[in-house]
Structure formats: C-alpha cells, structure tokens
Amino acid sequence: MAQTTIYSAKKIITMNPNRPEVSHVAVRDGRILGAGDLDELVSWGDYTLDERFADKVIMPGLIEGHAHSMEGALWSFTYVGWFDRMDPDGKVWSGLKSIDAVVDRLSEIEKTMDDPDAPLLGWGLDPIYMDNVRMTRADLDRVSSTRPVGIQHASGHILNVNTKALELAGLMKTGQNNPGIPLGADGLPTGELKGPDVMMPVGKHVGMDRAFLAADEEGLRNYGRLCVRAGVTTSSDLGQQLNEDLVKMFERVTGDKKYPVCLVAFRINFGMSPQELVDYTASLKDRSTDRLELGKIKIVADGSIQGFSARLQWPGYYNGAPNGLWYIAPDQLAEIYERALAAGVQVHTHTNGDEATQLTIETLEAALRKHPDFDHRFTLQHCQLANEAQFRKMGRLGMCVNLFANHHFYWGNEHFALTVGPERAERMNSCRTALDQGVPMTIHSDAPVTPLGPLFTAGSAATRVTATGRTLGNSQKLSVSEALYAITMGAAITMKMDDMIGSIEVGKRADFAILEGDPTDAEPEDLKDIGVWGTVQGGRIFEAAKI
C-alpha cells in the first residue's frame, strides 16, 4: 500500500472555503489525501508524521499565470537593473543606481571573458529611475572598444550598444534618417536603438541572436529553480513556438523526476495559419503530463502601453503619440476563436490597450454565436486598460482575466505622466472591477519583464503603490485574502486547472508553498517580504536554499 505522510505546520491556509485553515495535511502518491487536524487524518491508516514544517506556514503552491521561461535563460547575461534581483542560484544582484555602476559591473564581467570577440549583453536597465539619463556608446566603449557590448532596457523597447557593435552592424556612418536611431552632435548614432524594427537587426551582434530568442534546456531548468525560490509550483510559459523539437525538449526537461514545477506551455499564434494553429495545438493536448500541460493557444493582439504600441480607444495616448499596432488581423482572430471553440482548445489573448480588448470581446461574442461553449474560459492577458463596461461584458461572456498588477509598481508613474494620463492610470488593472463584474481573475509578473514573485504581485494588487510611493487607484485595491486567492485559485481557474491545483483539499495535487511567515496576517505592503522556504510539488520537497 502506498505510503502516507502527514505534515504538520504552524498554519495551513487552504483556499478551501469549507475549512480555510487547518493544522495538518496528509499526502499520498503525490496527492492530497486530506487536510484537517491530526485526529481526522490518522483514520486513513498507517502514516509517517513529518514535522519539518512545524514552524512554517503552508499555502497552496503559488501559480504564475503569465510568465516566460526566458527569465531562466536571461541569467546567462548580466543583470544591470535598478532593483535588487535574485538569480536562479539565489544570489541577489544589487540594483545599480548610476551609469558608472552599470559600466563597472559590465567591465568586471568583461575581464572574465576568454574569447576577445564574444559579445557582452546586459539587461534590465531602467533610466526612468535615473532622471531619464541617456546612455551613449561612449559609456559602453568604456567596457570594451574591441568586443560588441549591448544593454537591453527593462521595458524591452530600447537597446544601447557600443561603437564596436554599431560598426559590426554597419551603422557607424553619418546621414542616417531613422527616428529609431538617434544621432549625436557628430552626426553619428549615439548607440541608442529604439523599437523592435531597429533593435533586432543590431541586437544579433550583441548576442540577441536566434539562440537568445529560443527556449533552451538550461534556461528551462534555471526557470524551475527560480520558481522554487518564489514559492511557485505551476507556471505558465506564455507563448512558445512549440515545434516538435521544442516539445521534445520540454518533455525531456520536465520529465526529469527532480524538475520542481509544472509548466503550462502555450503555443503562440505566430507562424501558422489559424487552422494549423488550432489543429496542431489540439494534437499536443494528449502529450500533457503531471509537469507539462499542453494544448492551449496564446494570441498577441496588440503591443505594449509603455512602448506606445498598444491599441487604445479614443482619445488615445496622453502625450499625443499615434495609436499602436495590431499584431493580428481581426479576421484571423475570428477564425482562430471559431476553430478553437469548435475544437475545445482554450485561448489566452494578449491585449494591453482598451481597443484591443474591445476587439477580442466583440470577436469572441460573434464566435460564440456560431460555436456556443458554456465553459470556454477564454482569458485576456494584461488587459490593462479595460473599463467597467468591458469587464461587465467579459463576465457575461464567460471570459477570464489576468491583470498586470506589477505594472503599477514599475511603470505607474510613467502611465500617470506620459502614456495614458492620471484618470486612466488609476483605472489600469482594475482588479476590483473584474471581481465585481464576475470575471475570474488572476494577477501576474510577466517575468522577465518584472521579476517572478507572486507574493510581490499580490502585494502590488493590494497596495497599488508605484516605486516612488504614489497610490494609483485606491478603489481598485484588493484585500490581502483576495490577492492571495488570485495567485492560487484565481490562476488555476483561468488555466482550467482548478480541479487539480489552487487549493489544499482532498484529491488535489500536493502542491504547497512553504512560507516563513503568515501572509493572511500581513499588512499589504509586507506581503513581498514574507520569506519562501521552498515548495512541495506533486508531494516532492524542494528547499530553496538547496535547489
């Protein structure tokens, strides 16, 4: 007979409304046999009492509903951001507060490199916290004049490179007329490259090549380690090409008995016709395992708000920038929705601007008339600018939402001053409105855009403060318990996995976040500081300090 382990804890927060807090949880075959007090659980038969978590608080394993495993791969490059950030080894890289500090860190790495021609790439620079100082190629020439050096900004929309990289790209010449390539007083490029159209061709010379863009095995393993440190037991990988080679790689990595997290890998809509996309994704469903969930589609409808490429409804951008870009044609969106509804394939759609959100709502409503589905749970990802009417409609159509709570903290001031202005900045990521309108909701980090950390994300949704302490949208704050529900059950519901994960109750997967403190007892602003000891995933124990 299978073995039963009963864990005691200082407190177990279950997310099961019938018994929200218990003292013990019994695990058998990687599943939860029961949650209650010891007297109730011993009746299941022989057991081992494990008291290693006796002074810890146990929550359902945290679920990240919108992240990219690339967060794991990025740590092959040098972090130069403003905020402290932890790498997969648990090392905290201190935030850098000046251009000189950035140059110093890259210079140190440069000294350790053997190949004199190899590119050096940094990531995470955010000049908005440095009074918008503009980095130039002269700054990066101090790192090296002989090897190409580049830094990708935290927003993802700007790349800075040194003179060598510009030479390799054939751009060290005067007479260029491109708004994405600012020129210095000497008529030569300053080294700043704005927007994907100019970043991509130059980026390959500083290491942003095919290999950088594709998922790799080590990156996927590192991502698993980051998940343990954040208390995450299930994470979406929201948007992969998932060709046969990649699916095999995912199967290999997650098939390792020591892989600590369940990845929900979505097939992105690029590169396939709607019919191929739906048929192919549907065919992947059967290859799902305990640690790899397949068979879902991610569509990108528009760009980003801080990149001014999101599609906004009237009156558009606060600073007068022209409206953003469509990344999918409405007719193709309609065809994917119709085919996916017919095939029973779930679709998550990236919308940032409220016009993109409106398009998806209208398109889905029309598709549902042709293919009624009473539990499709098509989910809008980011959906940052949605208004109350849109949430009301989403609720009535059976849609779910995953709001970008972290965005307030990192870019709220930019949204207030520049992109959408004060009124809409307060409305952004309206968690309260979503709940009030009956839209199942979760919140996310979009790692690597912001760091993976659901407790931080929950805190952001509960406080709605920006990095400088401004509160944006008092009336949209979540309570702590609502925020904790969002990062567990909320996320499980949006991915149609709530039968398996999201709460600690009989029958579900034994997925726990093991915490050093009690989040239900914490002030909203303290949620982010609660220590994570590690996780239990499918009954397997992973200690962050040893991962």
Binding site: P201, Q241, F270, G271, M272, E276
Partner: protein, 292 residues
C-alpha cells in the same frame, strides 16, 4: 550589389497570394525568394512546387518560398547567404503589418536593400476596409507607405466605381504610382523591378503584358547619375526604372520605384542601360528618352 527586397503589403483578401503565384510563374529565370508570414494563409500553386522540406518550399525555376514567423531577420540572412544567390526577395507582410516598419528592419540587415513597398488594394473592398472600426488607421497607413499601389480585382466593379476608387487612392497617397492589376495582368517588372539590361536571363524582359510599355535609356559617356535618377523619379508615367550608367567616378546602379530614387556604386564592367517601365496609356517612350 545588395540583394533587393520587395515588401508586398495590404489587408487580407487583397490578392497577395494571387500576385505572388503570378510573379513566381513569370520569374523568367530570376531566382526569387518568397518569404511569407505563415504557411497555410498563402498557398503556392501546386504545379509550381517541386519539393517541400523543413519549412522550405522549392519552386520551379530556382525559386523558393518559406515562412518567417517570428524570425524574419534570421530567414532574411539565410536567403542573403544562399549559394547560388537569389536575385530578389519578395517579403509578404502580414495583413495588419505596416510595411515601413519592415523596410526599416530590412534596411538595417547588411547586404540587403529595401527596394520597393507594393501595397495591394482590393478595388471593391478597400474603401470599406478603410472605414473599419478597428482597422481604419492601419489600412490608411499601409496605403500612405506604398511606393506602388496595385488596385486588384478591378474587373469586379464598374468603370465609374473604379475611377472613384482610383481618385480616392490618389487622395490617400498623392505621390504614389497607382496601377490597376487584373489577375495575371501585371508585368512582373512593375512589381519587382526590371533586370539590369546586362544581367543574364534565360528570356528577354517580357513585353507581353499589354498594359505596360518600356524603353531603355543608354546615356553615352559619364553622366550625373543622381540627377538622372531624380528626373526619372519625378516623371509620374514611370512606374519603375533600373539599370547601370557611367559616372565620372565609375559605374553606378540606378533604382527608381515610383517617386523614390536610389543610386548605388556598381562594380564594372557593366553594360550601360536603364530599363524604364510604365503604364502603356501614360508612358511616352520618346519623352522618357529626352530625360537623359
């Protein structure tokens, strides 16, 4: 010489598939590489396909077709480095892409030259699409960014409507050459450019398309290539022109697409000659000859 890239844009249903099949069928010895946003949307006529392997479709006459998905630059570089080399890349933009953005990227890939932006407008649908609740600005931007607008399926509307559409298109893109393009009725040279006079062809440049006329300029002695290029670009009857001329500093290659002119240095020896193409009912070969 840099490898020219022609971006073919326009909303879904404008006729990009038909045009690309037509160009492949009439490649006349040119090796074309067709890059499509995704397979499935664009179906190459089956009789043109010789083989299909690893996402690369081999097409009769040495042409290929492949999907670029999210790795446009990587695929462009693969085509650029191919041996034997290709003569022209046709890049099919997605239905909502802004061709100018693609041209920016193409212009920054070494060894490539953004040659022309050809935007297709479905004669019957274009004005309706331009009023679309979600698409209006995208459609109008596509038209404004075109060097050449092809009015496709003109035979589906009556003459009055066709004239009205042409007038409307002219308002949207005043300097752009606008060409009616009945199915299989468009000269490949108008879209992808003439082959320089001296280049090797299995067949001579076609004159079979009744709606187009052409002439070859052969300026003698060294001339100011930039000045000639600008004069050609300003002549609204010339859709495209391409060829070599002698300058005081050596050979130069002139490209004219619509109202846009470009001159690049060329390696001698090359035979002097600039092929100019225009719509038959507008094109005056003698007048064009006088521009030399």
């Amino acid at each position: 010489m840099k490898l020219p890239v022609t971006v073919i844009g326009g909303y879904l249903g404008a006729g990009k598939t038909t045009l690309i099949n037509h160009l492949l069928r009439n490649a006349n010895g040119r090796r074309l590489a067709v890059l499509v946003n995704e397979f499935g949307e664009l179906s190459i006529d089956e009789d043109l396909i010789e083989a299909e392997e690893d996402g690369l479709m081999s097409i009769s006459g040495g042409c290929v077709c492949c999907a670029y998905g999210s790795d446009m630059i990587g695929v462009l570089e693969d085509i650029r480095d191919a041996d034997p080399p290709f003569d022209n890349i046709l890049l099919e933009a997605s239905g909502v892409a802004l061709p100018a953005s693609i041209m920016v990227t193409v212009g920054l890939v070494q060894g490539l030259r953004g040659d022309a932006t050809v935007v297709l407008a479905d004669t019957e649908q274009i004005r309706k699409n331009a009023r679309h609740k979600f698409l209006s600005d995208t459609i109008l931007n596509q038209l404004a960014q075109a060097d050449i607008i092809l009015m496709t399926k003109p035979d589906l509307v009556d003459d009055a409507t066709r004239d009205a559409v042409r007038e409307w298109l002219t308002e949207q893109a005043p300097k752009t050459r606008i060409i009616e393009a009945p199915q299989n009725g468009i000269a490949p040279e108008a879209v992808i450019g003439a082959v320089p006079f001296a280049a090797q062809l299995t067949q001579a440049p076609t004159q079979t398309h009744v709606s187009f006329a052409s002439t070859v300029l052969e300026p003698s002695g060294a001339i100011d290539a930039e000045a000639l290029a600008n004069r050609l670009a300003q002549d609204p009857s010339i859709t495209r022109a391409k060829g070599f001329v002698q300058t005081p500093k050596g050979m130069a290659l002139i490209h004219i697409v619509g109202h846009r002119a470009e001159v690049e240095e060329a390696m001698p020896p090359q035979r002097v000659g600039v092929v100019c193409i225009g719509l038959r009912n507008e094109f005056d070969a003698d007048a064009v000859q006088r521009l030399v």
